[in-house]
Amino acid sequence: MKKLIFILGFLLYVGSTNAQFKKGSPSSPSLLKGKAVYTQYCLPCHQADGGGVMNMNPPLIETTYVLGDKTQLINILLKGLNKPIVIDGDKYTNPMPAVSHLSDQQISDVLTYVRNSFGNKASAVSAAEVKAVRAKK
């Protein structure tokens, strides 16, 4: 019986996330392209749910980096990051490699996707913004 109730609950839960997913990611091609970039270049470390890996790779959920200053965020991708980060008292110790080999468009797509997935809600990052940050070095 418990099992049945669990399954029922689970179905409801899955149903609601699926519906949510359709709604949360508008058919905008940028988000879809961003998801593809995420899957290939970010997911191995930050995981399918954006939740990261305990003590190693930080989550991308409502962090000040993800939601905050776009220049700083773009620079994390262009230059990488190698200083231990602490989130909720947990330290994340792996380094983030630069992904400057991605195009301005790919970086804008993936950052727009990350800023609007995993529960995040923030403005899009344009290719022009990436280009400007890259030019400054």
Partner: protein, 449 residues
């Protein structure tokens, strides 16, 4: 330092006992209100199905071979790493993160109800390594090793004044934990993990080459041997016992062979760093997680090679000119057992008890913490495996011994696992103890036939 901190808001306290991925759901819930009803209904139904007490769940949710049973003896004790058990069956657990300012827990079952309570906690340092030998409890932080004198009941006499026997070990973010074991001659073996994935010029980056004569190996990426009874030893008076080991978390002394055995965590990122050479599938399967028997002076080959368990060969690393096929220098040692990639062996224990059936005697148990670097393919591990041994050598294939820690069938994102096996210890009655560093459960596995 303030600038290094990131903050995540906590929405989840009310729903803590539920699946972690529900948290996500709650984040997403903020905008469309029409979802709230179905979500609340889902949450209530799911939490109802979870109101069972853990010990009501058969075998604490684990699947075991016939005749074995399991129970959780403690829950929510913190990030439980390695574990040591004294001769009276009382339990010491190291914590990756301090709880109330302390890093080691002492658990006892005073009322004999099968549930262990924290009797006291001590040591203001977090970490992984812990071991009992010859009247001392050894415990490591990420830079140092301490030992506490035990009384004749193997309880710590003075928890506030350990001897600092080893100090100044390198801990540069990656692979910081210092696992340890003590042999029968009062020598302490300590793992010092490499602070890198594969010694690339730019760590974990696309097609970045390996550093020539990898400088990390001078002070890390190996096992160092120290005296158990000397204070303040460091690199200058320790012995560089073995090299070419990327990171070892599980290790044990095998009394049948009178030698050290270690489980290496193999390298990551074959596909993300070398997409032209490795597919996602190859990168998920490779390289092997290796069990090595270690003799003085051994070199296991990191970062110059990895072991490919499918070709059964030592393969030159792509950072050093490899292409997935070229073989590495044969001087590097061969593994004793090669497991599939990325499963993260965090605990190793040679079973010497009399409780389990004959097959298990002197065999190796390995706690696989579970993978993350198999993404985008589903994760693997999250179980305790067993390798039978006879005359100091494996006498059969490895097998899964205890599974179900994660609580879910398929794990895509590491965070979905509710428990991850980490440390192993044997009780005086021959039962096997397993820690979990996600929720802080301690499992006891017994044979009741």
């Amino acid at each position: 330092m303030i600038f290094d901190l990131l903050y995540i808001k906590k929405f989840t306290s009310v729903f803590k006992p539920l699946y972690v991925h529900l948290d996500l759901n709650l984040f997403e819930m903020k905008k469309p209100n029409y979802k709230i009803f179905s979500l609340i209904a889902a949450v209530i139904l799911m939490s109802y199905s979870f109101t069972d007490r853990k010990d009501d769940i058969e075998n604490a949710g684990l699947t075991l071979p016939a005749g074995f049973s399991a129970a959780t003896i403690s829950e929510n004790i913190g990030r439980a790493r390695h574990i040591a058990i004294n001769k009276n069956g009382e339990v010491y657990v190291r914590l990756a993160k301090l709880v109330d300012g302390k890093g080691t827990l002492f658990l006892t079952d005073d009322d004999k109800d099968g549930k262990f309570e924290v009797k006291f906690s001590f040591g203001d340092f977090s970490g992984t390594g812990i071991y009992i030998k010859n009247g001392y409890l050894y415990a490591s932080s990420n830079e140092e090793v301490f030992r506490f004198k035990l009384d004749k009941e193997e309880r710590v006499i003075d928890p506030n004044n350990p001897e600092k026997i080893i100090t100044g070990l390198i801990a540069k973010n990656q692979h910081e934990t210092k696992s340890l074991v003590v042999d029968n001659q009062d020598n302490v073996y300590v793992n010092i993990g490499a602070y890198s994935n594969s010694c690339q010029v730019k760590d974990r980056s696309l097609e970045s080459p390996g550093m020539v004569g990898c400088p990390i190996l001078d002070s890390a990426g190996g096992i160092w041997k120290f005296k158990a009874d000397k204070l303040n030893q460091s690199y200058n008076n320790g012995e560089h016992y073995a090299t070419g080991l990327r990171n070892v978390v599980g290790l044990d002394w095998n009394n049948a062979t009178n030698s050290l055995f270690v489980m290496q965590h193999g390298r990551d990122n074959l596909n993300s760093s070398w997409p032209k050479l490795y597919t996602e599938k190859q990168s998920a399967d490779l390289p092997a997680e290796c069990l090595y028997q270690i003799k003085k002076g051994d070199n296991a080959g990191w970062p110059y090679m990895y072991y490919d368990q499918i070709q059964k060969k030592k393969i030159l690393a792509p950072e050093y000119g490899g292409d997935g096929k070229k073989e590495a220098d044969s001087k590097f040692i061969n593994p004793t057992v090669a497991f599939p990639g990325h499963m993260a062996p965090n605990g190793l224990l040679f079973y010497t008890g009399n409780q389990f059936p004959e097959k298990y005697k002197n065999g190796a148990f390995i706690a696989f913490h579970g993978s993350w670097n198999r993404s985008p393919l589903p994760q693997e591990g999250y179980y305790v495996a067993f390798v039978p041994f006879k005359d100091g050598k494996p006498s059969g294939d490895w097998e899964v011994f205890a599974k179900g820690f994660a609580g879910v069938e398929v794990i895509n994102s590491t965070r979905q696992a509710q428990h991850r096996p980490c440390g192993l210890a044997q009780g005086p009655d021959g039962s096997l103890f397993v820690t979990d560093d996600v929720k802080g459960s301690v499992y006891k596995i017994s044979y009741n036939q």
